[in-house]
Amino acid sequence: MIEGAKWRRWVFFYIPLGAFILTLLFPFYWMMVTAVRPDNELYRPWSAPNYAPFWTTHPTLDHIRYLLQETLFNTWMLNTLLISIAATLISLACGLLAGYALSRLKFRFAGLLGTAIFITYLVPQTLLFIPLADIVRNFRLGDTPWALILTYPTFLIPFCTWLLMGYFKAIPRELEECARIDGAARWQAMLYIIFPIAVPGILSAGIFAFTLSWNEFIYALVFLSSPAEKTVSVGVTSELIRGDVFYWGSLMAGALLGSIPVAFVYSFFVEYYVAGLTGAVKG
């Protein structure tokens, strides 16, 4: 706590903190209110005298109903869920194996490969999306979930590898050595001893990977075309806008509902998520 007069605490702590929290969370509140606000209230210019922005007196579920029944929203949610889970699992598996190899085994190219993987993490998707679209089409993966399930690991694996390497390095070598003397082969020691101990790291990497997958946009935008194949982000962007007309109520409802799975997973695993984020940064 800040020592000193009470006013100092308010000026230097409570007010700034409050301001931050307000600014960071207001848009979500706005999302929620808009999603349940009836159209007549919604489309009222801000200069009109009866503009009452911060609450609504007649909440309605119309927008949500429209979203769930008249659009392919449910399909998009399902698509995104499947793609995210599949991509996360693939990336975790690869990351586990690669992370173990790079942190626990001695071989000639260890340093080089580690750096190479780190560098690929720094290649942004917007640099590769045009040639990658071509490749996806050539492999006959265009407009299928596989286009994303196989390409998302490109930015998930480096992160998972790096994060898990950090966890592996903290496990004493003697545990593996003891296991090997006890009769385990190298791969058995890895599987039965090291991986179970690294479970917190696996959870952190998994959660973070899941949220990153859910958040991805440009690959989904470019590789998928049929409305039924789209992910939530792309679907909401392309299907809830007719020409220049934005269906704001449903848009916000879509934004809200589309965020729920991620927020849900996140809320259960906050500690792991933060551990994942800070683990990556602390190296």
């Binding site: 050595e177 090997r180 003397i181 006890d182 009769g183 101990i197």
Partner: protein, 364 residues
Amino acid sequence: MARVVVRNLNKMFDGVHAVKNVNLEINDKEFVVLVGPSGCGKTTTLRMVAGLESITSGEILIGDKVVNELPPMDRDIAMVFQNYALYPHMNVYDNMAFGLKMRRFGRAEINARVQAAAEILGIQAQLQRKPRQLSGGQRQRVALGRAIVRHPKVFLFDEPLSNLDAKLRVQMRVEIKKIHDRLGTTAIYVTHDQVEAMTLGDRVVVMRDGVVQQVGEPLELYNAPANRFVAGFIGSPAMNFATVKIVADADGPPWAHSEGIRIKLPAEFADRLRRYVGEEVTLGIRPEDLRVASSSDPTDLAFDALVEVVEKLGSEILLDVRVGPSTMAAAVEPTVQAKVRDQLRLALNPDRLYFFDGVSQAAI
């Protein structure tokens, strides 16, 4: 048969020659201790026997079979680590059963062995607990139990007691000795503590800078050290050393001479040291072989000393004294009355002198 033979063993690490031509023969059922300061190569040697380090050149045989190319899992050995290396995500039972599971033993057999080992070590009540719930001593017992259930050909110990507090260390030392007597398995034990080496080993191997200095039974190393290093390493408090010159006039008896010391060499040493007349050698005297001179002690086997520090231990008194320009330690009877800045005369025991070549440091 579980003999371990090490032949011309060498290990290079990035240009550092860590283990130099080590030769050892460890007999079946023997408890051999490798002892030496950090970096002497003892742990590296042990790890090569275990298969955890590759061998640069030389051979290792376990039970008359060359094991150079065998991975650890096939060498039929068990190891107890300094930090216990207990699997934190398994309970004690599973920790001990792991090795047997890896070798596809049946459940009944596993249970029988684990229970038997737990009984020997007194940890039956801990079998369902996880390592983090155990004390340091209990963890070390589990580590021992894990090694015992395997019925290996050789036990390897890598400084297992270093992490325990002093009292526990003494306790566990005795336990390890008892278990070895009971099981009779060949054991190789690495430590930097010469007390552990002396108390546990049937034979002790002293190493330094990758080279074996001396191999022998504990008392042999104490009474007849092969060189200055072994003499100074074994025994606590450490042996005192002084550089002396051997002088003799004509055919007279040789004397050892340095600033503050003038000693007439006893007969048995006189012959051995005759050829060093005119040269410098190192004189070694153990603190426990010094005593306060009485009137009946010959004057040519004593020297003057100035007391600098008095440490009363109850069973003896340790005196730090200044002899000439250097300091020595003397362990004397607890009845001695000595104060700081007292001038004393210390007498030697003529049977317990050691001399080392000034250049090679080998015992003369």
